[in-house]
């Protein structure tokens, strides 16, 4: 478990990193928490590792009118402790507290987590859930892509070899809302066997909009648009009458060493129901404060 030979570039600026990235088989390293195991197993054999962790402009969190912009180098712990994130999108800080262990959260970054695109990971789920768009840059140009177009399949994104993720735009939620996140693990700090997050926007007890996303349920985090549609317009006190089949219809989990597909399909509907109920409760609790 030793990596193959690679050159190392400690990039001081984004330009330097982008220039280096033009070399064939070059690869970005941010926190290294996902990449280092891969290169140690020689599953990835980059010619050059471009360390972006000194590029200060990538580790900013900025609050703008309609959005929160989170730089790709922001670590899990930085997000957990950020006052701005806790204020505008507390679900992020909450969910990330369930990511791995503290030492890993000190190094792991949002950009690395998104680019790695593990369908059980927290950041990808949050990015999909929160209708985030992603600012990507290469030496030649830059583009912004929606989360739903970014995640393609397990460990695969739309990112090109010469591109770097610069930052993530998380739209602020204007309405009053409740949120909830739940993660099922076999052991603390593990990747989710199944996870779900939800944001329910409510006006006069009516659900006017909702976002519901699950992890560990398929090749990418999955937005449950069917359920979002079912509950739209419903009173929060009403019984949503969602059938088990409706809960299951968009889920497409697989079996692995950690859990069978059947277990994931068994736990899935319960977790989704939990986050719906808990989001509404969260809304009520906040209103009473």
């Amino acid at each position: 478990m030793k990596p193959s030979k690679f050159a190392y570039v400690n990039a001081k600026t984004l330009d330097e990193a982008l220039l280096s990235l033009k070399q064939p088989e070059a690869k970005i390293i941010a926190g290294g928490q996902s990449l280092v195991p891969l290169i140690n197993y020689r599953l990835s054999q980059p010619s050059t590792l471009i360390d972006i962790s000194s590029i200060i402009e990538l580790s900013q969190i900025s609050v703008q009118d309609h959005k929160l912009e989170i730089g790709s180098l922001v670590t899990h712990n930085q997000a957990i402790t950020s006052k701005d994130i806790t204020k505008f999108l507390p679900i992020i800080s909450f969910a990330l507290e369930h990511t791995a262990h503290k030492t890993i959260r000190n190094s792991g970054t949002i950009g690395g987590s998104a680019a790695h695109a593990d369908p059980s990971a927290e950041w990808p789920l949050l990015i999909m859930l929160l209708d985030c768009s992603i600012n990507i840059i290469s030496y030649k140009n830059s583009r912004t892509i929606l989360a739903k177009d970014f995640f393609i399949s397990e460990l695969t994104t739309d990112l090109k070899e010469d591109e770097i993720i610069k930052s993530f735009n998380f739209p602020k939620i204007k309405q009053n809302y409740g949120w909830s996140f739940e993660k099922i693990v076999q052991r603390s700090g593990d990747f989710a066997l199944f996870s779900a997050g939800s944001i329910i926007e409510i006006d006069h007890n009516i659900i006017i909009n909702s976002k519901l996303c699950v992890g560990g349920a398929g090749e990418t985090p999955i937005r449950l648009s069917n359920i979002e549609a079912i509950i739209k317009g419903k009173n929060i006190e009403s019984n949503f009458d969602i059938t088990n089949d409706q809960f299951l219809s968009l889920l497409n989990p697989t079996s692995d060493e950690h859990a069978s597909m059947e277990y994931r399909l068994y736990i899935g509907p319960q977790v989704i129901r939990n986050v719906l109920i808990n989001s509404i409760q969260n809304y009520k609790d906040n209103k009473n404060d």
Partner: protein
Amino acid sequence: MNKDKKILMRPKYIGKPIERFEDSKYLSGNAKYTSDINIDKMLQLVFVRSDESHAKIKYIEYKEALKLEGIIDVLTFKDFSELNQITSPSRMSNYFATYQDVVAKNKVRYVGEIIAVIVAKNRYVGEDALELIEVDYESLDPVIDPEEAASNNKILLHENIGSNVILERSFSHGTKDYIKSKNIKSVSGKFKLSRKSPIAIENRCYLSDYDIGSGNITLYSSTQIPGVIRDALSKILGIAGNKINVKALDVGGGFGGKGSLYPEEIIVTYLSKKLKKPIKWTSDRLEDFLTTSQAFEEIIEAKLFFDDDGKFISLEGDVIGNIGAYSIFPWTGALEPVQVIGFLPGPYDIKNFHGNVKCVVTSKSPTGPYRGVGRPAAVFVLERLVDMAAKSISMDPFTIRMKNLIDTKNLPYRIGSGIIWNDAGFKECLEKSKNSNFFKEIIDIKNKKKCNRTWIGYGISTYAELTGIGSKISVAPGMPINTGSETATIEIDGTGSVSGIFAIASHGQGLETTLAQIIADEIGIKPEDIKITHGDTSKAKHGTGTYASRSAVIGGGAAIKTARVLRKKILKVAAYLLETDPNNIEIIDGIISSLNTNKSINFSELANSVYSDMETLPVELRDSLYAKESYDPIFGATTTATHIALVEIDKQTLKVKVLKYLVSEDCGKVINPMIVDGQVHGGVAQGIGVALLEKINYDNQGQLTTANLVDYKIPTASEIPKIDVVHTEHFLPENLGQFKGMGEGGTIGAPAAIANAVADALSDYNININELPVNQEYLFQLLKNGEIR
């Protein structure tokens, strides 16, 4: 004269929770492990390992690899032809030894077996070479399912044996007449304990340094058994023992996984001699999963017979042990399965016992000793049966155990399999656990916490184990190596400081501290002033190492015996110097005082007069301050404990959480309560891993699918509850020091207690917890089959 005698109270260090002397180096990162040593011109080995579980090797192509800069050589079996095969003999009849080439010759028998050896300047280029080497196999059918392998001789792993069963043994005691009895009841089940890995933090590592000038070899090895390794290497390599020094430096945990001889150890040593270079190999985690001896994997069918009053009448058991590809040296693959059947009757008075065991070879990694050997499985099975029996006659789990536990007055007691239990508080430990505040609390929690979200239950397990085993009993059944004695050397140097030298090999047990406490009490010095040396065959010429809960019992006994001899020598010299009688001398914290005068000397003065100053002592008193004695407890010391676990199961996720844990144990005289509690805590933590998480999985092609610490789950601190420990001290009068072994007990009792707790939590449902680990998936499968809800 007596009335003038000063009363001096010697402080007692035995029984004190002294902080471990070795902790500061461990906690500050200053411990020195084998891998920390680098020697000039050292070469590293990378092994080409089989990717197939059962196959013939057609050819190995390594020309390209040889071209790489930094690659010294690539060696195959031909280069090791002068080495003897590894084989583990046994005195047991019906035992068939396996023969393993250190580098596979024609055929491989598990994924991870060594096919070729890359000698490289460093590990990086070695792994570059690995990518260029091609091995062509002719696949053979894998041998995976032990039940099938046992009954089917068509696919043989070892053709020369003619069967996949390397040992079958039966035990029978009493009759089978009870079957005819009208009032007889029984409970039975087919139980499985999954294969597990010992998982020490430090992977195995070997570094052999060949000294060209003298021809001596020093093997630094992360081993628990330096003495055994030295003896084995001497035979396999044909080198005199005094030319090989096996040195275990700091060792980062063993749990049995570092308690056997490995091919890598032989290859490293052999090549350093052949190439006249220091040679090192450090296992990575992947190799550790593939090749460090694994544990368990038994299928046990057992039946407990009892009468209406819950009195046990008979126990029947049938064990199939899947020992993996080879019978490991020196213990043999029979070690674990035979102990499962041997310990199955437990600490209970059961008049009839009928047991059978088969040890089956399969194309998986070899199994070997693991903390608790045999007993975690035996206790799991029996204690489940005891709870099932209790439930069937609506008796509570304490009552049925009290009724059947062997009474102290009937000790020594020979159980059906032949093991003899001597002085131990079986009932006392159980009673203490029941009367503890802990038990009141858990009943309280159980009643209060009844809720819609969780099931909650508690479970008990009671067991006995044999520790500190002397020469009359073989640690591994039939093993022709005596592990029943240890030698201690204690000497005082010219400065007056005291050193104790042992052949044990502490690897986290705190023996550097406990042995110092023992010597301190015997001689009258401070424990922190004693240097304990261990794990070095050049310092202690004979002894086998640390395993099987033996070091404190046998090493401690040797320490007492030796210290007493040395103390006599000290008193003799001191009596002359203090001008008094040896009986009128007391030694306290290193000050030797006369009881009837105010004269005293310290150890430095004592040593000076013996070794340096040529005037004070007459020549005949200048005998060196040195003693060396061996100790053999002949039999073993019985340790016992009752464990109670309180668990909660989430009704949605089906995840089991251990909320509280109690161990009520009898390990005889407690040398250091802090170390004992620490060992119990660590053992229970591993037992929680066995019960809830850890599972080595091979697919039907014999590929290991849990080869990293993401897929193979060990408990983290978050999975371990607070663990309470209560002590009982039952002494075995014949044993020096009255110590009993206790390092393995936590792992022995915990799987059973947790399994029983889970069964209790689900007692409203018709289920049987007969497999471990009980993870979400396992409970889900029970649920799916309609057994829960």
